[in-house]
């Protein structure tokens, strides 16, 4: 292939990135495959065959789905709602609310884990005390020690950090809608609900898609909270795939199986991203189609 002068200059600028990409993205993929597909001195599919009869993997996958679906619903639902509420609110505190609701995003998941351990402690934690004082709970609740409640508690902790992410993105999107459109709608005699349905929603759809995609990827990245707060327990009730890969690799030191599980994880994330890109126009809003021109 003959490179134009411009492309040659461009290449010079992207060489550091390309070199890094080869060493830290292509080579790791090669390592994953070479570990996952070998064993007993030859090529083998044993590491993948093992998945079918691995009860822990089954549990991890179910938990990952539970964790993802619960987190996505919570974060997107509340984040969206708060954005709409703040956008509709008019008052001097608007800027303060935006700043205050942003704060959780700056907190490290490890620090959130620490907060949760303290706050949700059934004996000394304030959450139980408040629930009892309000008459919602009669007895102390063992949030992190119960197989039914541990995952919801993790989901809430994760939600506390990332609801602001969805909120901020959608709020920024709402702010970009020109005021004249609302004025025109008012002149045209639209009700509040109609304005929301026919003007606001269609205009922020692209940004909602972007928020959904990036938020989903963020949720799937989750590891620190589970590692720190529940260590997968109690029982295996908070085993999620990322935690399971860590256990297989760095507690059981079964690198080959861990590599196979990593590939499985990459496939799951890859299929998810592919489906989102395929069935929505989110790529366009990420500015990808802009670069095609000229």
């Amino acid at each position: 292939m003959q490179l134009s002068r411009a492309q040659k200059i461009g290449l010079f600028f992207i060489i550091p990135l390309l070199a890094y990409f080869l060493i830290f993205f292509i080579y790791p993929l090669y390592l994953l495959f070479s570990y996952a597909f070998t064993g007993n001195g030859g090529l083998t599919l044993a590491n993948f065959a093992k998945m079918a009869s691995d009860p822990l993997l089954r549990v991890s996958l179910i938990n990952t789905f539970y964790y993802y679906a619960g987190s996505a619903a919570l974060q997107f639902g509340i984040g969206f709602l708060l954005a709409v509420v703040l956008n509709a609110y008019s008052g001097r505190l608007k800027g303060f609310f935006k700043g205050a609701l942003f704060v959780p995003l700056t907190v490290s998941p490890v620090v959130i884990g620490l907060m949760w351990i303290i706050i949700f402690n059934p004996t000394y934690g304030p959450v139980d005390y408040i629930l009892k004082a309000l008459g919602i709970a009669k007895y102390s609740i063992n949030w992190l020690g119960s197989t039914n409640l541990a995952m919801p508690t993790i989901i809430i902790a994760n939600g506390w950090e990332y609801i602001p992410f969805v909120f901020l993105i959608i709020f920024a999107g709402l702010q970009t809608i020109p005021k004249q459109l609302y004025e025109a709608a008012e002149v045209d005699g639209m009700s509040h609900f109609q304005t929301f349905r026919y003007i606001t929603l269609p205009l922020i759809r692209p940004i909602m898609l972007v928020a959904f995609l990036l938020n989903s990827i963020g949720i799937l990245q989750g590891f620190a909270l589970v590692y720190e707060v529940t260590s997968g327990g109690p029982g295996y009730s908070t085993y999620i795939l990322s935690y399971y890969i860590y256990q297989v690799g760095f507690s059981f030191f079964n690198f080959r199986y861990a590599a196979a599980l990593s590939i499985l994880f990459l496939i799951i994330v890859g299929v998810f991203v592919f489906l989102v890109l395929k069935f929505t126009s989110v790529e366009k809003y990420l500015g990808l189609s802009d670069h095609e021109q000229v």
């Binding site: 509709a88 609110y89 704060v103 620090v111 990420l286």
Partner: protein
């Protein structure tokens, strides 16, 4: 209308209370004396305030308790890893790559590639990175950690700065071309300074991401400064997960300590962060 606004205000006040309460609780826990930390009913407004949790090491049920000062060897490593990976990823890799992509190679597949680099889950790559860094003999070193952290900072900076360089007027670079600057000098002396706000934003976003990162540090490091490269989040998990420590006062003090840098950077960069996080889809 006014009653409606009041309803909104109430919703926002509740949301803000929930958003700030855990931080408030951690901070007051770090300032409480032990008897107020472990009391029922819980103490919402401490009567006695102490800074002991920040610097005075004591014993707690026979084990040494933690303090914020005790986390300093980990915090030093966090600063080095965060600043190193952010600076190299932004200035040496991201900025030139973004410039080359925007000004010379307009290729959608390269842009997609960068997007996909950002979507790879850390847990899927922790094993190969561990193997690679072990083989290089860089386990528990700054270099090992920074090399792997570039996988987070370089694509993010590239993507973010593509947007910034794209928004710079091309004619300024053409004027420099006519004035006689070389291609590299146009980049280094004209375009980079013009993109300085973008570079600062990319740096801050990366700093926060790395400061808060735990998984790679967990598998790549095992001891604090000066013997190793273990970072601040692992100070906390070390005592919580491995030692099952209940010395909440000291842990909360250390947690507050770890929170401050990312909180400051986050609040400074707040209005640009949305643009960064949405990869330019929302113009901040």
């Amino acid at each position: 209308m006014n009653r409606f606004n009041l309803l909104l205000l109430v919703v926002l006040l509740i949301a803000t209370a929930i958003a700030l309460f855990p931080i408030y609780w951690m901070v007051i826990t770090s300032l409480k004396v032990s008897s107020e930390i472990f009391s029922y009913p819980p103490v919402f407004i401490p009567l006695k305030i102490t800074l002991n949790n920040y610097y005075a090491q004591g014993t707690y049920y026979g084990a040494l308790s933690q303090t914020a000062v005790g986390s300093i060897p980990w915090v030093i490593n966090s600063f080095i890893a965060s600043i190193g990976a952010s600076a190299i990823g932004t200035i040496l890799i991201g900025a030139p790559a973004a410039y080359g992509l925007v000004r010379y190679i307009r290729n959608i597949w390269l842009s997609r590639l960068i997007l996909f680099m950002m979507m790879i889950p850390e847990s899927a790559f922790m094993l190969p990175y561990f193997l690679m860094i072990s083989k290089a003999g860089w386990i528990n070193t700054w270099w090992g950690l920074i090399a792997v952290y570039l996988s987070l900072t370089a694509p993010m900076s590239t993507w973010l700065l593509m947007g910034f360089f794209n928004d710079l007027p091309k004619s300024v670079e053409e004027a420099a071309q006519i004035d006689g600057l070389s291609t590299f000098n146009i980049f280094a002396r004209i375009s980079m300074p013009m993109a300085a706000p973008g570079i600062a934003v990319a740096f801050m976003i990366n700093f926060m991401n790395i400061w808060n990162e735990m998984l790679y540090a967990l598998v790549l490091t095992y001891s604090p400064f000066p013997s190793g490269a273990q970072t601040a989040p692992l100070f906390l998990t070390g005592f919580i997960v491995i030692e099952k420590s209940f010395a909440w006062g000291g842990l909360a003090a250390a947690g507050t300590f770890v929170l401050i840098p990312s909180l400051i950077v986050g609040l400074v960069a707040e209005k640009y962060l949305v643009k960064g996080w949405t990869l330019g889809a929302v113009k901040g």
